[in-house]
Symmetry: C2
Subunit: 578 residues, 2 copies
């Protein structure tokens, strides 16, 4: 999880912005791929995933309700478009062969072109490491035991546990079985590897400096692995990838439905996750020349559903009222109990708070040390579920709000991820000004630009406080009025042309519609309502909040001024929030 602490200095209202750690992520579009799919009863979506390992982005999990899995049929037999397809595909697109991969099967060999939304890509990473108090899950200690004599009659196990001052440590049978020869072969000198209650291993000689851990952040969309040196607390390296479960559903509800509707669905998702984590761990260890036996522990944060899927615990209670998870408590086990893995490490699941306030938020609290502070802190995770936690050393209130995926570019007409060709900043000065990721012609808008757009519309009066597009005569500034006249298309619901067709990569204008504004309002309102509710229940006011932290990959690129202008991050800081 990316966490951006925003230091609020009262009076000056000045932002100090720095990263604790984090990564941004986005999809780098592949080149066009022409694929020949053999005749099959499977949907084209499933065939592409299962036979070609091409995971198309299907946010709804293949139900025909998100319209994201557009592919282009070049040749071959396929039935006429159904209602779901005509909802999402224009006549022009249909005439060019565009179809929804989840709605069609290959009735004969099918040549298709997969030209958008492939869920492969590169996660852009940056991290500055976390420097704070560390308390590793697994400790090591070198001990030299007294040799047994006719007077010192302790048995091997007791002798070892006494040397560790831990007589009650649980010792696995396999270690007890190994101990007698091990101690004698090593002249009663060894390094014990243990955690709170279990002796995990004994090693020859002094190996205390070799103690590594991998911390995982398992997001619904991305998975990030941090390699940690437990003796120093340093983050040595990171690896990440799009969540390998993504082809089975874009959000937690779609994943849960997959476990309910598919035979062995839960097992499939668990295996996918383990396989991905295992491969990230392998890459981290090999690149850093670390022996896999020295990776004693894994720690996992993530939302409650992701942790259920990883643990193989049915998450269906999370999907329907009264929203009861199978577990929330932190627990540890050997990862081998979950399934095949590259190492034999202990895995600790961070505790979750509720069905929709997950262990990722708990990890965020710990990372910011909010729980130790006298001063009130607010942590907001800007995602599809806006998870919010407010508190100090005396305790916390938390909630989750259905913010929707607007800030991730979904449900926005020209929305897209923060990848190459995405508009990522926007402002209105003498003309419309914008920047594009990857120094190319734009094809859509990503989250940071969405915030800029709404903020600048509001600031210039192009929309009013209710979010409605203005009438021309309502706009006082002449420059803005001229821009509005040139850019606004009042037909239908109304849309503002950000980039005309002749300047976009696709040849189609990039626009922001009245409906897009409503989507953003929905997201913003959800977050605001969440914060207001927490303040109310805590008997606190906005003025009491001293520290604001924004979590979520999106937050890394957001323009804080724009966010404040539209009332997103702290609605009291500037006037004119919508």
């Amino acid at each position: 999880m990316l966490i951006i602490p925003v230091k609020i200095k009262k009076l000056q209202k000045k932002y100090i912005n720095y990263n604790i750690w984090g990564q941004s992520h986005g999809i780098l579009k592949n080149d066009m791929n022409e694929i020949i799919i053999q005749k099959s009863d499977k949907t084209v979506l499933d065939s592409l995933r299962d036979s070609f390992n091409i995971p198309i982005d299907a946010a709804c999990g293949g139900k025909g309700t998100c319209g994201k899995c557009k592919i282009r049929v070049l040749q071959g037999g396929v039935r006429a478009p159904d209602k779901e397809e005509t909802n999402f595909l224009s006549d022009d697109e249909l005439s060019r062969g565009y179809r929804l991969a989840c709605r069609i099967t290959s009735e004969s060999d099918l040549h298709v072109l997969v030209d958008s939304g492939i869920d492969t890509g590169q996660i852009l990473e940056n991290h500055t490491g976390y420097k704070g108090n560390i308390r590793p899950l697994v400790l090591k200690r070198y001990v030299e035991l007294d040799h047994p004599t006719l007077v010192n009659q302790d048995d091997d196990l007791t002798r070892l546990l006494k040397s560790l001052d831990a007589p009650e440590l649980h010792v696995s049978l396999s270690i007890m079985q190994r101990l007698p020869f091990f101690l004698r072969d090593n002249d009663y000198k060894c390094t014990a590897v243990y955690n709170d209650n279990t002796l995990i291993a004994v090693e020859s000689g002094d190996t205390c400096s070799l103690n590594y851990s991998v911390a995982f952040d398992i997001g619904t969309t991305t998975v990030v692995a941090y390699l940690l040196d437990c003796s120093t607390g340093d983050v040595m390296d990171t690896r990440s990838g799009l969540n390998a479960q993504k082809p089975f559903g874009a959000d937690v509800i779609a994943r849960i439905e997959y476990t309910m509707n598919q035979i062995d669905g839960l097992k499939t998702l668990q295996e996918k996750q383990l396989e991905q984590m295992s491969s990230l761990v392998k890459s981290l260890l090999e690149y850093n020349h670390i022996n896999k036996k020295n990776l004693y522990s894994l720690t996992v944060a993530g939302n409650t559903t992701m942790l259920h899927l990883l643990a193989g615990i049915n998450p269906s209670g999370i999907a329907t009222a009264p929203f009861i998870p199978g577990f929330l408590k932190s627990f540890s086990c050997f990862i081998g109990e979950l399934g095949n893995f590259y190492t034999d490490s202990l895995i600790r699941f961070m505790p979750s708070i509720s069905a929709y306030v997950g262990a990722d938020i708990v990890a965020g609290v710990l990372a910011t040390s909010m729980q130790d502070s006298e001063e009130l802190s607010l942590l907001v995770d800007l995602g599809t579920n806006g998870e919010i936690i407010l508190g100090d050393k005396n305790g916390f209130h938390s909630c989750s709000t259905a913010a929707g995926p607007a800030f991730e570019g979904a449900h926005i007409s020209c929305g897209m991820g923060a990848v190459k060709s995405a508009l990522n900043t926007f402002s209105i000065k003498e003309t419309l000004e914008y920047t594009v990721l990857g120094d190319s012609e734009p094809i859509g808008i990503c989250g940071s630009a969405i915030v800029d757009i709404v903020a600048s519309f509001l600031e210039t009066g192009i929309i009013d406080e209710t979010g409605r597009f203005a009438e021309v005569e309502e706009i006082e500034n002449e420059t803005v009025r001229n821009i509005f006249i040139n850019s606004y298309n009042g037909e239908g619901e109304g849309e503002f042309i950000l980039v005309p067709g002749d300047k976009s990569a696709s040849g189609k204008a990039i626009t922001f519609t009245q409906k897009d504004i409503r989507e953003v309002q929905l997201a913003k309102a959800a977050i605001s309502a969440g914060i207001a509710t927490l303040l109310y229940n805590s008997r606190k006011s906005e003025d009491d909040v001293v520290h604001l932290y924004i979590a979520g990959g999106f937050g890394n690129y957001i323009n804080k001024e724009s966010a404040a202008k539209m009332g997103l991050i702290l609605f009291s800081l500037l006037e004119g929030s919508i």
Copy 2:
């Protein structure tokens, strides 16, 4: 373990003798078996065990030092007797084809007659049940959980643990995985099965009355299994057998040597033990119509070596100075971790005290409640190792003494187990009087008769206080003198003929030699020295001992007066101990 409490009433010096529980054991001789062994490099001992499942009693583990594995070769090629064989076989025996099975191989097909000492047979059982405080390892509790609501938001796991008032119980991954559907399918009503720190199972409905356990006493010679109803504490049934490891060595040292000298020796012994225990459990459950899933726990007592072998923990430290075991602590695991087993029960190893004071003694202490008593108790286990423990609620002293196997009939010239055809009582009145087990002609002497013989020799003056056979003129009583004249054969070391050849089943006289007396003295002296040492270290005298308990199968049949006369069980009670 058989425990006989001997209530000592001061002044009256009167014995009250009753069983808490126990079993006596002995070998019922099979009929003659003619076996044809194919040409092989294996010893005949190994061939009989491996190919015919005939475990010959080889107390030394096949080293040629005990002379117990006599078989008779009827036909086939076999080399001339070596020195070990001539040590144990008379010329007469050699001429009739008797050989030691451990010393010969079948150089061609070999017809052999196995006519003695086959380690199959029936353990004679009796038990009266133990009625006392019970604290089962595994508890059951029926709970009806609150249904989840939008207000009552506990996750499934927390909901269950709260209902048990045990929020910190460790719950296995497999139960956590099962819980969500299980609770909903059972309307949030279930029976939890748990021990101190672990939730073992959840079951539909109220199954609290179905909670069974099997307690094992794993002796070097015999294994006994007690089926217990944990809801009442009743011993429902018992099963027993000769220890399946016995063919690999009669005593603990021979077993340990087997693990040191044979590849996978430890694994072999562990598997044999598990296989036997599994089969005893199967028999107990099937006969008593108990579902194997309701056998949640096994408890194991036994000497320290037996517990190492069962746990698969190398016992070699026990065999040589400074005699350090791999473990002594009590521990639990699922029996499946040890190897294949009929049930999935939890197994608890009772704690041991030292390499030679085992968990069987600890179980004896608990069974007698010595640890709760204000009065000083002495518990003596009369075995090859005489294990002795002395103490009260303030603490204990214990020791182990090398008593030797005299009381088990070994190392005694005509000694044998307490089986059919064994002389089991003996006294000198007008003539020699004796009884024989199984109402047959005698072939040897078992432990209870050995005690009678020495006691009566001592009482009548046939031997003096030093154990030396008297000269005729030293015997004052005329009847005794005449008996002595008729029965004593002063040739060689000197021997007393108990049963002349014409009255014995084998046609050979049954005698008791000067060397036999020395063996008994050795055993008795070891026990006495052990008791004296414990008293000395406890700053107690014999008079302080209020309760005396004798443990060991042999003790069930011992004549207490004889034992006291020879100074075995409490040397202060009667004059004239040797």
